[in-house]
């Protein structure tokens, strides 16, 4: 029955979400794109109200020329190349061990590993920042030092998200038919062999999913460095590009440049996720994974 009555009903069901979606999702994006195409032009001496003039892609060019942005992006790339594989590797190993036969107290471990998901990122960052502060740290090290602070942030992210990623992979592992692994075991395959040749390839979609989540998460790194910037000078207010976009927009009142940074980041996240998907598809075709 496809009548006008049902069409109207569908519209009524879609309307509440649709209205909020347009106002709080679509409009801000349009607003940012529009804003990023203009520049404030001040008269020669800087007196009087600045004039808002169309400037095309000038703000985007300014973003890519800025050292703060380039340093921030390089920092995030380094962070992503090191932290993401460590976190996902650990998540995969934990999921495989909890799925296998060798471990005991599995329910307990699963619950403990998932626990950080209940702790907001900023609260985790606050607690770790105490553990990093030399005067109160039980480790007796200065983990807020400029040379290591990026990896101290990496530790907070790893602590917070490993369990969640583990659970996603673990759920996929549980869906593998048991007979498959039993048959392999009867043929004399070792537990290692079964894990590497059967289980890992079969949970590939969830590994790719967690990979994409992590790449996007890395590019919007904000909470942890913001908390640390409140307690140490080694993390500046423009430590990551997202933090810098805020500083530009709110402290310098340059909304146009701030909007351009946010759009560049969104495009970068999309491009990197796309590359990652292509790369994993290529690896699969080559039979690497």
């Amino acid at each position: 029955m496809i009548g006008r009555a049902t069409n109207r009903a569908a519209l009524i069901f879609l309307l509440p979400f649709g209205a909020l979606f347009v106002v709080f999702f679509v409009l801000p994006i349009g607003y940012a794109v529009n804003e990023s195409l203009y520049k404030l032009k001040r008269s020669g001496l800087g007196f009087g109200t600045p004039e808002r003039v169309f400037s095309g892609l000038a703000n985007y060019a300014a973003v890519f020329r800025d050292d703060t942005f380039l340093t921030g992006v390089r920092r995030l790339l380094l962070f992503g190349i090191v932290q993401v594989p460590i976190m996902l590797g650990l998540a995969l190993v934990l999921a495989l061990l909890l799925d296998g036969h060798a471990a005991r107290f599995k329910r307990f471990f699963r619950l403990v590993y998932f626990l950080p998901y209940a702790v907001p990122g900023v609260i985790a960052a606050i607690v770790w920042s105490f553990l990093y502060t030399p005067e109160i740290s039980p480790f007796g090290l200065d983990l807020l030092d400029g040379d290591v602070v990026l990896w101290s942030i990496g530790n907070i992210v790893t602590w917070t998200w490993t369990g969640f990623n583990m659970l996603v992979i673990y759920s996929a592992l549980r869906a593998i038919p048991r007979e498959l692994c039993e048959a392999a075991a009867m043929d004399g395959a070792s537990a290692w062999r079964i894990a590497w040749s059967i289980k890992v390839p079969m949970v590939r979609p969830s590994l790719i999913l967690t990979g994409v989540f992590s790449i996007i998460g890395t590019l919007q790194l904000f909470n942890e460095p913001t908390v640390l910037s409140g307690v140490t000078t080694t993390v500046s207010k423009s430590y990551t590009p997202l933090m810098w976009s805020l500083q530009v927009a709110l402290d310098n009142n340059d909304y146009a440049l701030g909007s351009a940074i946010a759009i560049v980041l969104a495009l970068l996240a999309g491009a990197l996720s796309f590359l990652f998907l292509r790369l994993s598809a290529w690896l699969t075709r080559r039979g690497v994974m």
């Binding site: 496809i2 069409n7 009903a9 519209l11 009524i12 069901f13 509440p16 979400f17 909020l20 979606f21 709080f24 999702f25 409009l27 801000p28 994006i29 607003y31 940012a32 804003e35 934990l94 061990l97 060798a102 005991r104 107290f105 307990f108 403990v112 626990l115 998901y117 209940a118 702790v119 900023v122 609260i123 985790a124 606050i126 607690v127 920042s129 105490f130 553990l131 005067e135 109160i136 740290s137 039980p138 602590w159 659970l167 996603v168 759920s171 996929a172 537990a191 979609p205 969830s206 919007q220 909470n223 908390v227 409140g230 307690v231 997202l242 909007s259 946010a262 980041l265 969104a266 998907l277």
Partner: protein, 275 residues
């Protein structure tokens, strides 16, 4: 046998790593400010100072902390409830009504799933300043009710759990479309909607960026924002209050987690995404 011991030992070491900050938090919440510095970090100090610390958290800045807890409940609970209901309705419509333009609507929702919310927070702030929503609870609540991913999941649930024949039967009996949704559709989708609610609750409880941008008035802050501001006072004179406040804020959520374990179906959320 050896494999079992080694495996369990490894899992144990990781568990210690995960529990270490939590343990430190519990121990530190029982210490006086002086003991935080003078006694070993991972064991209790001389005297039990927990009651004093709780008192300190609750009375600091004229009792703001309990207000922050209440605000967090409003933002996370109210926002998640709204997001779940809106997503359920939209997802149900996309799954059960073959209206014209359905494919386009769904494609737009899927596109929105790929755009990370923090990246539109700055433009959202600029927009809210025009709409006069800055520094109001609605300024946080309304954006939190928009969950494209929730719509995507609700559509998948509705497709799997709500049989079209049941809706037809309702129509033949003369029930209106809204009534059919609220009496039949939403009930069949209920277990999945609880999961959706929980994910959304945690997402809002985790979202620190949006309230930080939108809210100036301390009395409107959620507990995360309040604690970060207390923490950022460099002299550190609020350390004992921050530690105890952090602990108090996560205890109810952890308890809710453990008791609602069976609803944490990561596979529901993750497995349904086909890549």
């Amino acid at each position: 046998m050896r494999a079992q011991v080694l495996t369990t030992a490894f899992l144990f070491v990781v568990a210690v790593y995960i529990l270490l900050p939590v343990w430190w938090m519990v121990v530190s919440a029982t210490k006086s400010a002086a003991d935080l510095f003078d006694t070993p970090g991972l064991w209790f100090g001389g005297d039990l100072h927990l009651a004093g610390n709780i008192d300190r958290v609750m009375s600091q800045d004229g009792g703001l902390y309990s207000r922050w807890l209440l605000n967090t409940l409003i933002y996370s609970g109210g926002g998640a409830l709204g997001a779940t209901l809106l997503a359920a309705m939209a997802g149900y419509a996309l799954a059960k009504y073959p209206f014209r333009g359905r494919g386009v609507v769904f494609a737009i929702v899927m596109g929105a799933v790929l755009i990370p919310a923090p990246l539109i927070t700055l433009p959202l702030y600029l927009l809210e300043s025009r709409l006069g929503l800055l520094n109001t609870m609605w300024g946080v609540l309304l954006p939190c009710m928009v969950s494209p991913f929730g719509v995507y999941l609700a559509r998948a649930y509705a497709e799997a759990a709500v049989p079209g024949t049941l809706l037809e039967a309702g129509r033949i009996d003369g029930a209106g479309e809204l009534r059919i949704f609220f009496t039949v559709g939403i009930r069949l989708m209920a277990p999945a909607l609880v999961t959706l609610f929980l994910f959304q609750f945690v997402a809002i409880w985790n979202n620190f960026f949006l309230p930080m941008m939108v809210l100036n008035d301390q009395a409107l802050w959620p507990v995360t924002l309040g604690l970060v501001k207390w923490h950022g006072i460099r002299t550190g004179f609020l350390r004992d209050a921050v530690v105890t406040g952090a602990l108090i804020s996560i205890v109810p959520v952890i308890l809710a987690f453990v008791s609602l374990q069976r609803f944490w179906k990561a596979d529901l959320a993750a497995g349904s995404v086909k890549l």
